[in-house]
Subunit: 230 residues, 2 copies
DNA sequence: CTTATTTGCGTTTATTTCACGCAAAAGTAA
DNA sequence: TTACTTTTGCGTGAAATAAACGCAAATAAG
């Protein structure tokens, strides 16, 4: 047995942070998975994650994992649940604080071990290691809830986007279909969108308007207690 | 130094579960706090909580704490956030999985050390130990969110209650005022209330109707995707 | 005895959804 | 080319919902 330097009077579980990384390719939601190279669950896919260092918070740990895999330092990262089933890891007792991250696919660079990392669409998720299928289900549910209260969707879109892209994003996350015209009206009436370019003179009917997220206006609305309703 | 039997190759934080226990006395929300008898934060008030055993989940640990303080085995307990700031406990690195519990005050018995336990109203919370003020703020916010989607409010009321009690509960949690008549209409139209007693013949105008929560009807509605809106 | 409060059960009006219409430009297939 | 479909911007009316408020009976409080 190797050296065991850290001793306690009572048993301590290991604590890890996992990071479910969501991206959006203009049509559907994607999830970044890593193929495990070692036992247990060798060959199975899993979320980026690792042991929390003794001088970092769980969120900092999750951000570290995110950066290792995507190169992104700034991103929307939020903790959503802590999984503590007794036998969720066969090696030792491991409690994991699960997070999700929202990233713009265009800004993602291949990470350290890009060879074993891949983006998967919602309907092509392979067999996952540990209890990661349960973690994914919970992450998706939390995403659905959050997008109705906070404009987190914009974290997944490029700076400038079209109304159709925005609608595709909402439809992908909520797994529903909206009437295009109603979605258009509702979003504009909310006032959290700004026209990115003043629509060129040569604009044809099929050249869509470009928008960007208006954070200032959103902050105003939020104070008055409001809600992105769908 | 005492015996240190449990050794690991890397440092492991301690993991605790805390339990913010909410009750409702017919007018306002109450929180159960325990006065600490030992350092650190001796004399300060804190939520029931303790170290997670190696063979129990965080929720089981929270339920154990709940039962020790209230005698209640069955209650609505939900995890809401894990706090992992590096210095939140001066003794050692402690990560806590925070839960809230909803209990009926009438069913609560004094716990093991009832002497040091007390119910506090929302506006008379004393100075709290550790980062428990932050934990309380987060618990209240989560409660506000949840009550708009799930009928968790009924966990706080007695089996049979009046419409006014129900409204007081919603107003206390959401910290708003409703028009009595609109609240009445909305709740009845939802269909999740059942009349508890068929309203006696000698009922005067000031004898309020008694209701109970109709779980079956709620299950129906939930399937169709619905929402307690306020 | 007078006044204020509580309860049940409405109605009216404003606001918000929701379903759908329409025309212009541009791509698609014959 | 021609005919057809798709995409986009911008409306509009009907239906549903939320919000404001009326009223009378019973009774508790002063």
């Amino acid at each position: 047995m190797s050296e065991q330097h850290y001793c306690y009077k009572y048993p301590h579980p290991a604590v890890t942070a996992d990071c479910v990384i969501f991206g959006f390719d203009g049509t559907g939601i994607k999830v970044l998975l890593i193929q495990r190279g070692i036992e247990p669950y060798k060959g199975k896919w899993a979320f980026p994650g690792g042991f929390m260092k003794i001088d970092e918070t769980a969120e900092e740990c999750a951000r570290r994992e995110l950066e290792e895999e995507t190169g992104l330092k700034e991103a929307c990262v939020e903790q959503f649940y802590t999984f503590s089933d007794v036998n969720r890891d066969p090696r030792e007792r491991v409690v994991t604080v699960a997070h999700y991250a929202l990233v713009r696919l265009s800004e993602v660079k291949g990470g350290d071990d890009a060879a074993s990392a891949r983006w998967f669409a919602h309907d092509e998720i392979p067999a996952l290691a540990f209890d990661h299928d349960r973690i994914l289900r919970m992450a998706m549910n939390r995403l659905k809830e959050r997008i109705c209260f906070e404009p987190i969707g914009f974290e997944l879109l490029p700076e400038v986007f079209t109304m159709t892209e925005l609608q595709n994003l909402y439809e992908a996350i909520l797994e529903v279909k909206f009437d295009r015209r109603n979605f258009y009206n509702k979003m504009l009436k909310l006032g959290i969108l700004a026209e990115a370019e003043p629509r060129p003179a040569n604009a044809s009917r099929r050249t869509p308007n470009k928008y960007r997220f208006n954070a200032g206006k959103y902050a105003e609305l939020k104070q008055k207690g409001f809600r992105l309703e769908f």
